[in-house]
Amino acid sequence: MRIKAQVSMVMNLDKCLGCHTCSITCKNVWTNRPGAEYMYFNNVETKPGIGYPKNWEDQEKWKGGWKVENGELALRSGSNKAIRLLKLFYHPDQPELDDYYEPWTYDYETLIHTKRKNHQPVARPRSLITQKRMDIKWGPNWEDDLASPETSRQDVNLKNMGQKIAVEYQDLFMKYLPRLCNHCLNPACVAACPSGAIYKRDEDGVVLISQDVCRGWRHCVPACPYKKIYYNWKTNKAEKCVFCYPRVEDGLPTVCTDTCPGRIRYNGILLYDMDRVTEAASAEEKDVYRKVKDIILDPKDPEVQKAAKEAGIPDAFIHAAERSPIYKIVKEWDLALPLHPEFRTLPMVWYIPPLSPIIKEVEAATYLPDAEEMRIPVAYLASLFSAGDEGPVRQSLARLLEIRTYMRSKLTEEEPPKLPLAGDQYEAMYRLLAIAKRKDRIVLPAGIQDKSHEDRRFLQGSAGYSCPGGC
């Protein structure tokens, strides 16, 4: 057993209101630069939809993530390194600008400087790449609230369901899906990088790209099945979400977490067994979720704590892991699921699937519905969050409803119906999911560990977790 610490995030989709505040604040902090105009380290998609970039989930097309070949884990882009390197000269699976969208601005100046005319002046769109006039045909969020039904119908998850999208207005469904880099335990981008520029940070598992070492070979871009690595056309190097590491090191949440008006995001530490990552990633498609839960270790277990100390994990990390909201939601309550576990990268951003309105037919007769009686088909959620296995999704949705049943019975002072967990568990879930304070939603260890206050002040701003010159 080799224990590592991992910063992780849970998003409670049940509370996501699709406002894009996370995307905007993230963009303002990280990608409002030339070359990065088109990048959204965090974006919010409306599902069903093809998303950003177009059809990112379709691995037949992009060949992202991993596959199991003769019992061995191999990159889907090919298990032979030499053949993969031939793609340095032209990568057939690399997305291009138009797969995302051509970023633009408007000629605002004309509004101020046009001469007196009969008609109102118009600010026409201008490409931020070529600076020429352009027609806007697609944007980073073209499908917002099902605004583009033709493309929404092409969502691969609908195909996976083997079901046509409901076309009747009263049967329509949609949900929001905020996406960022998953800081995976088994990142395909890292494995695909020819230069070795991408790495998992040893201290907290954040996946970063060294801008010095990156040579712009671009193999990471198609390799990431979530398409969360972006090629900067100006610096000609790859960039990605950094999990706001300068903030996280200070014990502050990521920007997207901090600014979320719905407070749907939780940040915390998980401890996992590094030796069993490969085993989890090469499991049967539908078992990956269970296996990855298995390698996440109980931070309160004295054995685990001892092994973690031996592995050099600072006490502050272990204490944070003990109070981790992520551990509770993912492991104790089985509420949150990974996005597309079948890509086998073992994502460390987790989603609590959303409840949805009761379907029309049973609306009148139902107060609290079953999973089947809600608008978003369970099969659809299962295609997103559990490789098509409906079990985990049902489990999670049922639990969300149990919380409501329990809390309702408290309010109405009725005897609560028989529920699978004890009452205080539901109370705890209710507190964490509904009314948790910032200190409960965000449990991150701050600063350089095992250093005196004076030393820390001296080192301020000089480096990441460990200190310059080694300490």
């Binding site: 390194k81 340095l88 000269f89 997305p95 020429k132 998992k200 201290e203 056309w233």
Partner: protein, 220 residues
């Protein structure tokens, strides 16, 4: 003047090539990249990119053989001048076609497509001109010398080796035809500007990728 061109200039060029490049790597690694433009303009790269690079590798291999292996070596191995020339043409002409053809396609792409303008710096324009003259002069030399009247392996090659041995013999360059002289000038210019251009990415071919573990962990 002759002494400067054939006895001094090569050293200036090689000095820039080696120390300039090392300095750039040491001081400005942040800007060291292949400068790929596939993201902006994909379809036109499909054949042009691989063609150019394959032609380049073939041409490079041919130059290594032709320049670094002395004539008495191949003759001792039983390959006479005529056979050697035929082998050189059999490799050199396809290499030239791929190399120059790929380069022309890349030029059309670079200067003909709207979005490519944002990926083209002033240095790229200079580089395209220099490379164009280098490739054309080299390929023209090969084609004009099909009859085999001029033997570069008794003139240019020993001259180049004399440069490497730090005892330049400029008399060897006296009988060299103009097109080959131009080619010699061009490689010196290319070597001189090498550290300032995107060409540096050729030194970064990721051989280490074959030997490293898939997932990299790094402590700061």
């Amino acid at each position: 003047m002759k002494f400067f061109i054939w006895g001094v200039l090569p050293y200036i060029a090689l000095f820039m090539l080696i120390f300039g490049t090392a300095f750039r790597y040491w001081k400005f690694e942040r800007g060291w990249t292949s400068k790929s433009s596939e993201f902006l303009e994909k379809s036109s790269l499909k054949y042009a990119g691989p063609m150019f690079h394959l032609g380049l590798l073939m041409a490079f291999g041919g130059h290594v053989i032709g320049i670094l292996i002395p004539k008495y070596f191949t003759e001792a191995a039983g390959i006479d001048e005529h056979v050697y020339h035929m082998i050189a043409l059999a490799g050199g002409i396809p290499a030239g076609i791929l190399f120059l053809g790929g380069f022309l396609l890349l030029m059309v792409r670079r200067f003909g497509k709207d979005r490519m303008q944002v990926n083209t710096s002033q240095m790229d324009r200079v580089l395209y001109l220099v490379l164009f003259l280098t490739i054309v002069s080299g390929f023209a030399g090969t084609l004009l010398n099909i009859p085999g009247a001029f033997d570069y392996r008794t003139t240019i090659s020993p001259w180049f080796r004399s440069i490497l041995a730090f005892s330049p013999d400029i008399s060897l360059m006296e009988t060299v035809p103009p097109v080959f002289r131009l080619h010699m000038m061009m490689w010196m210019i290319t070597a001189f500007i090498f550290p300032f251009t995107r060409l540096v990415h050729c030194l970064s071919f990721p051989f280490t990728y074959f030997f490293r573990s898939p997932i990299v962990y790094r402590k700061k």
